[in-house]
């Protein structure tokens, strides 16, 4: 019996007890001289179902989440050989044990014995889990079934239970945030105990290679994250330079100038741009825009050599240029800014427009002197959200920007970003507690905090602005 089968059986039981509960309620109303039920008979059925299903299911899910971890801990406690291993080796050994537990090969290594113990624990855990769930289901069933009588307020109880379930679902948003913070915080603290905070935030050299041998030259790894911060800011800056004017002016045009027919056609088409997955933009940036920008760079260099302009003649040109990435990212953000600005511009009251036109202003004067100032907080909020998106964007930079950490102001050169480094550090070989992977978590924490601050400011600004005109 697998977890899925048990879940289905639980569902079937829950469906059956509905009819049992309902029948008991019916029996009161029909045969006992037609005693008046407090609620409709169905509610007695629902109540039985909920009490049978919810506790059993809750325990089943929570147990399933923790059983593999508890089993491996118990396994480790049985084998002194495993306890002597370092953290890295232990995680490797555990992986092997888990694989062996499934494949059931027969050798006599320690890992194999451990695997046998491990799968035994898993088995016990599974049986115990089912037993406890079934017991809870029975308990819940009898608890309600025995209480069913005409005066029982079944509907109120059902509704109260449902509200609790709904509330639990709403709490998941908080759990997610807590989960994010927990998953980056501990590793980051561990990281900063090995690498000083000042080196991380102010160091200008990033090369996360770790020594394989003790005496390796230059293998100590250095974690100065300034080049990553710079790369992220540089690319986002170029993206915003492109997206902000394009998106804002397009939004103004669509809401103030375009006829409703034109708007009805153009807006959905531009929303297609917003729906294209970022991996597609990344591919486009890497294979089409990157080479185009590189050729343009070579052309500039040639001009520089011919006309003897030193800056251009010594231009470093790369296929993975900041300009190409920023350009494509900018185009990705245009529809985002467009729809956010469009919303706020449309919510500026018409009285302000009419007033300005009546005073003799042209439409563009109305836009720049009345509408945009009035909508400014909302527009700025939209820009902040767009910046936070550009900073957190991963696929475009991963595919089209490089991994070389450069501190350069040349838009034709390669830089690397926070998100690129997180992916490269975490998708390589997995030794979970090496400084390299810890660095990725520290970067993740930085990314989360930065975007959190930007988002909260932006959402606050937009909310304040909306209240102003509502």
């Amino acid at each position: 019996m697998s977890n899925l089968n048990f879940f289905i059986i639980l569902l079937i039981i829950a469906a059956i007890v509905f009819f049992i509960g309902q029948k008991k309620a019916y029996s009161y109303s029909m045969f006992n001289g037609g005693a008046k039920l407090h609620s409709l008979p169905n509610y007695y059925g629902y109540l039985t179902t909920l009490w049978t299903f919810l506790p059993a299911f809750g325990v089943f899910v929570i147990w399933s989440f923790f059983e593999s971890n508890v089993s491996s801990m118990l396994t480790i406690s049985q084998f002194s050989e495993l306890q002597q291993l370092s953290v890295d080796e232990l995680s490797l050994a555990l992986n092997e044990i888990k694989i062996l537990a499934v494949t059931n090969s027969s050798s006599v290594s320690i890992n194999n014995q451990a695997a046998a113990v491990y799968s035994e624990y898993l088995n016990h855990s599974f049986n115990l889990k089912i037993l406890v769930s079934v017991l809870l289901a029975l308990l819940g069933f009898f608890y309600t079934y025995l209480r069913i009588k005409p005066t029982m307020q079944a509907r109120n109880s059902v509704e109260k239970l449902i509200v609790y379930v709904l509330f639990t679902c709403a709490l998941i948003a908080i759990f997610t945030t807590v989960g994010i913070i927990f998953s980056v915080l501990f590793e980051s603290i561990e990281f900063f105990s090995q690498v000083s905070i000042t080196e991380f935030f102010f160091g200008t050299h990033w090369s996360p290679q770790i020594a394989i041998r003790e005496d390796q030259v230059g293998g100590s790894g250095s974690f100065g994250a300034v080049p990553l911060f710079w790369g992220t800011i540089f690319i986002s800056f170029i993206a915003m330079i492109i997206a902000a004017p394009l998106g804002l002016i397009a939004a103004i045009f669509l809401s103030e100038y375009a006829t409703s027919q034109v708007r009805a056609i153009i807006k959905p088409i531009l929303e297609i741009l917003a729906g294209i997955p970022t991996v597609v933009y990344g591919f486009f940036a890497a294979l089409t825009v990157g080479p185009l920008v590189r050729d343009f760079g070579y052309y500039l260099r040639e001009i520089g050599i011919n006309l003897d302009i030193e800056i251009l003649a010594n231009l470093t040109v790369s296929t993975e240029s900041v300009l190409a990435v920023g350009l494509v990212m900018g185009m990705m953000i245009v529809p985002f800014i467009l729809s956010l600005s469009d919303d706020v511009i449309l919510s500026v009251p018409n009285a302000m427009r009419d007033g300005s036109i009546a005073l003799g202003a042209t439409k563009s004067e109305t836009v720049w002197r009345v509408i945009v100032p009035a909508a400014l907080p909302g527009i700025v909020g939209g820009f902040l959200l767009a910046i936070s998106r550009a900073i957190g964007e991963t696929m475009i930079v991963l595919m089209a920007a490089g991994v070389a950490a450069n501190l350069t102001a040349n838009p034709m050169n390669v830089v690397t970003t926070i998100t690129t480094q997180i992916v490269t550090l975490l998708t390589g070989d997995q030794e979970f507690d090496s400084v390299k992977t810890l660095a990725a978590f520290a970067l993740g924490l930085g990314l989360f905090v930065t975007t959190l601050i930007l988002n909260i400011i932006a959402l606050h600004v937009v909310k304040k602005y909306r209240e102003q005109y509502e």
Binding site: G247, L254, V279, F283, L426, T451, L459
Partner: protein, 427 residues
């Protein structure tokens, strides 16, 4: 000069400014539209070669001698499995071009056809063991470089050393073409096979199935929880309660958290803490489910808000409880809006790549996943993997996979639009 004259004087300038501004607006729209057109056109152009494949007709001799098997009336499957099938296409090619002794040229000759041909032949023989001892003309898959050559993607004029196909290979293919032994067919492999290191054998079925399983988990997680949370926040939550305020802030913020952060969460919590299998659709679906949750909550709340109070009041007036009003009236009436929002959220999850890289869905998986626990990949990650491959032919495959992804997204959005149009109620 009176005021009117001053105004008249500036008028021309102001009108010019007005026209200029309007032109900027048109210009920025045109730029955005042409970027979109350029992107789609570029990808379609790159994808075109991937939809056909080159086949070469070979006369395959399934004789006992070549297959090194004794004549028998029937064979077991195990016997047939181990035969030297790789010799069949090579032998046929040697016969077509006799007199090649040079080892290097022989190897080049063998490489005209795909290395996967032997498996196709094996499957043919296992299916019909009567083939053994006979000889048959069979169309077999060409190697990806030969495929590119036939499609005209390789320039014959560049020097031989810079080219993936050698001069003698070109001569052979030209001869085969004259003998009508080369044919271009619709690339059915692309839709029926999993990933492969050989571009001519690689397909997206594995990724499609992985996406399907992942999306199922995402939907099962995010839809019920999202709708439930939205109902609570919209109907039952007390205003000015710190916990409710906190939930609201969290939801709005989570909608804007970079997707890669969810990937880190998945890695640290699901995989390392709870032991969910790495690379499995279960892990991917759980991560994407959390990501889609805020979108579904926000759109569901908007849909619930748009149900007019008169409906609620009428139901309450007839004696329904608050929960009955919600379940019997508010939710059914807001369902089109909820479904539209959910489809849009799911479309976003379908195109998401970065968080799935974190939980190991980027591994090379040749097998087609059969369930929620098998290692698998999803369509956008497959695109990422292929775009990283050095072989040129993968560019076409990547573009074709992108087109498939865009088609799915387009269909989902179309469904959302139709739902909205069909069930839209104006109160």
């Amino acid at each position: 000069m009176n005021n009117i004259e001053i105004v008249q004087k500036g008028l021309k300038k102001r009108y010019a400014k007005e026209r200029r501004f309007k032109a900027y607006g048109v210009f920025s729209i045109i730029i955005s539209l042409s970027f979109l057109a350029f992107l789609l056109f570029d990808i379609a152009l790159k994808a075109a070669p991937a939809f056909t494949q080159t086949y070469i007709k070979l006369d395959i001799d399934f004789s006992h001698k070549v297959l090194r098997i004794n004549e028998k009336s029937s064979y077991t499957k195990d016997e047939l499995f181990e035969l030297p099938y790789h010799k069949l296409p090579s032998k046929s090619l040697y016969q077509l071009f006799p007199g090649i002794e040079n080892r290097k040229q022989k190897k080049a000759l063998r490489k005209l056809v795909s290395s996967g041909v032997r498996y196709n032949l094996r499957n043919m023989v296992i299916k019909n063991s009567k083939l053994i001892g006979t000889s048959k003309s069979i169309w077999v898959l060409a190697d990806d470089d030969i495929d590119s050559l036939v499609k005209g993607l390789i320039d014959r004029n560049i020097p031989e050393a810079d080219r993936r196909v050698k001069d003698f290979q070109i001569a052979w293919i030209d001869k085969l073409q004259l003998e009508n032994r080369v044919e271009s067919r619709f690339n059915i492999n692309f839709f029926t096979s999993g990933d492969s290191r050989e571009p001519e054998q690689a397909g997206i079925l594995g990724a499609l199935k992985g996406s399907l399983y992942t999306m199922l988990i995402t939907l099962l997680l995010s839809f019920p929880i999202g709708v439930a949370a939205a109902v609570y926040l919209e109907e039952f939550a007390h205003k000015n309660n710190w916990l409710v305020d906190m939930i609201e802030v969290n939801i709005n913020n989570l909608a804007a958290v970079p997707s890669i952060v969810f990937g880190i969460l998945g890695l640290a919590v699901y995989i390392n803490l709870f032991g969910v299998p790495r690379s499995a659709p279960l892990a991917g679906g759980l991560v994407l489910g959390l990501m889609t949750l805020p979108i579904i909550i926000i759109t569901t709340r908007a849909a619930i808000k748009s149900v007019p109070p008169s409906i609620r009041e009428a139901a309450l007036g007839l004696g329904a409880s608050k929960m009955q009003v919600i379940i019997h009236h508010v939710l059914p009436l807001s369902m089109p809006g909820i479904l539209t929002g959910s489809i849009i959220g799911m479309a976003q999850a379908l195109g998401e790549t970065a968080p799935l890289l974190m939980i190991g869905m980027v591994a090379f998986v040749a097998d087609i996943p059969q369930g929620f626990f098998d290692p698998s990949t999803v369509l956008p990650v497959q695109i990422y993997i292929w775009s990283d491959s050095p072989e040129r032919s993968f560019i076409a495959l990547t573009s074709a996979a992108i087109i498939m992804l865009l088609v799915f997204l387009f269909l989902m959005n179309l469904l959302a639009i139709i739902l909205r149009k069909k069930f839209e109620t104006r109160w």
